[in-house]
């Protein structure tokens, strides 16, 4: 593989663009310069640290450390997804549902990809496992958080209609059918859209990266397609697990709608 190694100087020059943006913000009194600089600095520090962590992980290639890293990634994804929820369940249910959905989807799909298509050796080789898990988790997190948000808010706003069906003897599955499918749609729409636009509107980042690193375009495309399938599978599965478990938590053995298990909206 032939790729052009970047010097720190190259990166600093590109960073000038950010300084230029900050300058614009100062000149036009947009008040963005501070946030731009903080976000830019965070990005540099976080990625540098990840680079170091990955270097160490790849060097030891130990199943224990790889799984610890994977666990940490899942937990960060859960925190991030939960930060985007308007309404959460009482207690730790939201975290429980988020963690189990992302853990199940992320791990199952990653292991499936590693063992049956990528044939990494050993299959838990962090050089393959961590980046793939990362890509799957990033998308699954979006699906789970959009799906949960839509489900819980939908149950809240459509309470009268849901309970009207219950009062007429519908079972809870039928009464929740509308919000549940809207939640699944909300979770899956981004990945469906990005599949539809892939290659036409945007060149997916992973493929671009491989091409820059000297991989032949057709090979990079094959990889990208595989990854998109894994991502779509993980997102669909994770959203499904999250929406189904959350809708179970929204009801009980007597088929009631249990909105009392939700906390009040955060930003009310």
């Amino acid at each position: 593989m032939n790729f052009i190694t970047l010097s720190y100087w190259d990166i600093a020059v590109a960073g000038l663009l950010l300084m230029f943006n900050a300058g614009l913000s100062v000149a036009f009194q947009l008040g963005l310069e501070k946030r731009l600089l903080i976000a830019g600095t965070r990005m540099v520090v976080q990625l540098t640290m990840v680079g170091l962590v990955l270097k160490a992980l790849f060097a030891v290639a130990s199943p224990l450390f790889t799984s610890l890293a994977a666990l940490a990634m899942v937990l960060f994804a859960v925190l991030e997804a939960m930060a985007r929820q308007d309404r959460r369940f009482e207690g730790y249910w939201s975290y429980g549902i988020g963690t189990s959905a992302m853990m199940a989807a992320g791990l199952i799909v990653t292991v499936f990809g590693l063992t049956t298509q990528i044939h990494a050796d050993p299959w838990y080789d962090p050089r393959y496992a961590i980046p793939i898990l990362g890509m799957i988790l990033g998308n699954t997190m979006n699906g789970v958080s959009l799906g949960l948000d839509r489900l819980v808010n939908g149950a809240h706003t459509e309470r009268a209609g849901i309970e009207a069906q219950l009062m007429l003897g519908a079972d809870i599955g039928r009464a929740l059918q509308g919000v549940r499918s809207a939640a699944m749609r909300a979770g899956l729409t981004p990945i469906i859209n990005s599949m539809a636009a892939a290659g036409l509107v945007s060149l997916p980042g992973m493929m671009t990266g491989q091409i820059l690193a000297g991989v032949a375009p057709v090979e990079a495309v094959k990889y990208q397609i595989l990854i998109i399938f894994l991502i779509a599978g993980g997102t669909g599965f994770g959203t499904f697990v999250a929406v189904i478990s959350a809708s179970r938590r929204l009801t009980d053995a007597r088929q009631r709608l249990r909105l009392d298990r939700l906390r009040a909206k955060l930003n009310d």
Binding site: E158, R159, A160, E163, A164, M167, L168, G169, R256
Partner: protein, 232 residues
Amino acid sequence: MLKIRRLTRPGIAPLDLDLAEGECISIGGPSGAGKSLMLRSIVDLDPNEGEVSLMGRARDAVPAPDWRRRVVYVPAEAGWWADRVETHFDDPALAAPLMMRLGLAADALDWQVARLSTGEKQRLAMVRAFLTSPQVMLLDEPTSGLDPEATAKVEAMLHERRGEGVAMVLITHDADQAARMATRHFQMNAGELSLVEQGQGAGPGTKRQGAGPGTKRQGAGQGTKGQGTKTP
């Protein structure tokens, strides 16, 4: 027929109630006293405690959807889950004759829910409830948005059902309606259900004096608490 023992939930003191076949009782009392919460508890829409049985069959032994078809609750404000009226009926053909009896246009089935008036919604919700063939109907201000003519139609249909043995609980702020429809009158105050004694001379809550303190009185200086409803 419907037997309730020590039914309670937050906001409702434990209450006992028995309804005979074809019987209709009325419940009055200020808004927020817990009347609707009580009906929601009977149909098991919210967590509650106590024993409820219908024809000797315990509520817990009946799957919740079956229970709610037998003991149907018609809330003051009906909920809708689709845009078109028709979608809310399993068999719209069965709904049409009932709708006409309640003074609704036959083509209302094709309408959008959004264009229905309060009174139309109320009557459609009543039709929906009738179609589940309930044994008990819990009616939460069923005619509050209706003109006298439509009210009479709804009452006539309810009377007919009572004749067929359907028992009813009627929440109403209209003392005359309570007198027309119900044989026993109750009052809910701050979560306490109490029987309004009858035959207390000119006491409140009796049929002749229906507009007495048992109902909401507007503009009267002494407020709305029913003095005639104290329980020992």
